[in-house]
């Protein structure tokens, strides 16, 4: 499974769930696959999609909140896994696209090949944690997570295939925020 296919598959499964997209290729692929008002795109602030998603989940307990993260982001903010596990929001689904590299900066290796992030999430205290390698598996696991109590962690092993011509998010940061806040409070 390629990274862009994984992001597109997650986006295609969504109804009106708010999604916090990590910076780098994740947000750009999500924007390209399916731009929606309920998508928040981090353009900087690497590592903070997960804590931000936790904040939205705690403020909006009646909605399922999705964090679309990357392995580099999760490695940068491993402590946030503990915060999510401690707060234990039932409505949080944390999907991590693991391409093994910092793709948007030139494919430098991350440590994800040496660290089993799904086990880190599980031992931190996430209710559910699993790893998927096939597109069908991902769709099924994501659907199950949306329909179950969390917090759930899905590690998606992918091949890097980011095309640097993929568009950047064209909305201004303030537009991204306003759209998201309106969608998240609906």
């Amino acid at each position: 499974m390629k990274g862009s296919e994984a992001v597109a598959a997650v986006m295609a499964e969504l109804d009106d769930e708010p999604v916090v997209n990590a910076n780098g290729f994740i947000g750009r692929e999500a924007f390209t696959a399916r731009d929606r008002e309920a998508n928040f795109y981090m353009i900087g602030s690497m590592g903070l999609a997960s804590s931000m998603g936790l904040g939205v989940a705690l403020a909006q307990p009646g909605k399922k909140i999705v964090v679309l993260d990357g392995d580099g982001n999760v490695l940068m903010a491993m402590g946030t896994l503990a915060m999510i596990a401690a707060a234990a929001p039932k409505n949080l689904v944390h999907v991590t696209i693991d391409n093994g590299v910092y793709e948007s900066t030139g494919n430098q290796k991350t440590l994800s090949s040496q660290i089993e992030l799904e086990k880190v999430a599980k031992s931190s205290g996430y209710k559910n944690s699993l790893v998927v390698t096939e597109l069908d598996e991902l769709k099924k696991a994501f659907r199950t997570a949306l329909d179950s109590d969390g917090p759930s962690f899905i590690l998606v092993k992918v091949e890097p295939n980011f095309d640097h011509n993929t568009g950047r998010v064209t909305h201004t940061p303030e537009e991204i925020k306003r759209r998201f806040m309106t969608a998240a409070s609906r």
Binding site: F40, L48, G55, L58, G79, M83, A87, K177, A184, S185
Partner: protein
């Protein structure tokens, strides 16, 4: 006389309903009060930048968040403020203890104590220094910045205000 209890009561009156942070001894009394109440459960953050992320998400979900931190955490969270809050306009109230104020403190606090105000100014972060008799004025400024301008506002707190044990 300003203390942790009446400060927290004022924050609640102002509508602040989400609390997180990373501890500092100068704010020990405030942390203690937050941990003992369950009206607005206090969430322990592991790092100040993660706390900024948490408050930002809470704000976008409809809460009015407060972040308590030592000024050492301002260094950790500076990128979050500049690449997230200041450009997306995501506000929060930051209660920041001013370790190293006046150059009298442990060595690790001296430089940040010296540049604390300059760093806030340089990065475009609105702030006020708390005194015994300016809380109303500080909170009015905070409200203006947070509600109207949608930007973070910092209250700098020196030793002796909220460090009851």
């Amino acid at each position: 006389m300003l203390n942790s209890q009446n400060f927290f009561s004022r924050l609640k009156q102002e509508g602040f309903n989400f609390y997180t942070g990373v501890p500092c001894s100068l704010l020990a009394g405030l942390f203690s009060i937050l941990e003992k109440q369950d009206e607005f459960p206090y969430l322990a953050s592991v790092r100040e930048d993660a706390a900024v992320g948490l408050c930002s998400g809470a704000y976008m979900g409809g809460k009015l968040p407060v972040l308590l931190m030592q000024n050492s955490g301002f260094g950790y969270s500076l990128n979050a403020f500049t690449s997230l809050n200041l450009i997306y306009k995501i506000p929060m109230l930051v209660v920041m203890s001013w370790r190293g104020c006046g150059g009298k403190d442990a060595p690790e606090h001296i430089i940040m104590g010296d540049i604390n105000e300059k760093l806030l100014e340089t990065s475009g972060m609105e702030y006020s220094i708390l005194t015994q008799d300016n809380l109303d004025e500080v909170l009015a400024r905070a409200r203006q910045t947070i509600v109207k301008d949608e930007l973070p506002f910092t209250i700098l707190v020196k030793k002796g205000f909220f460090d009851e044990r």
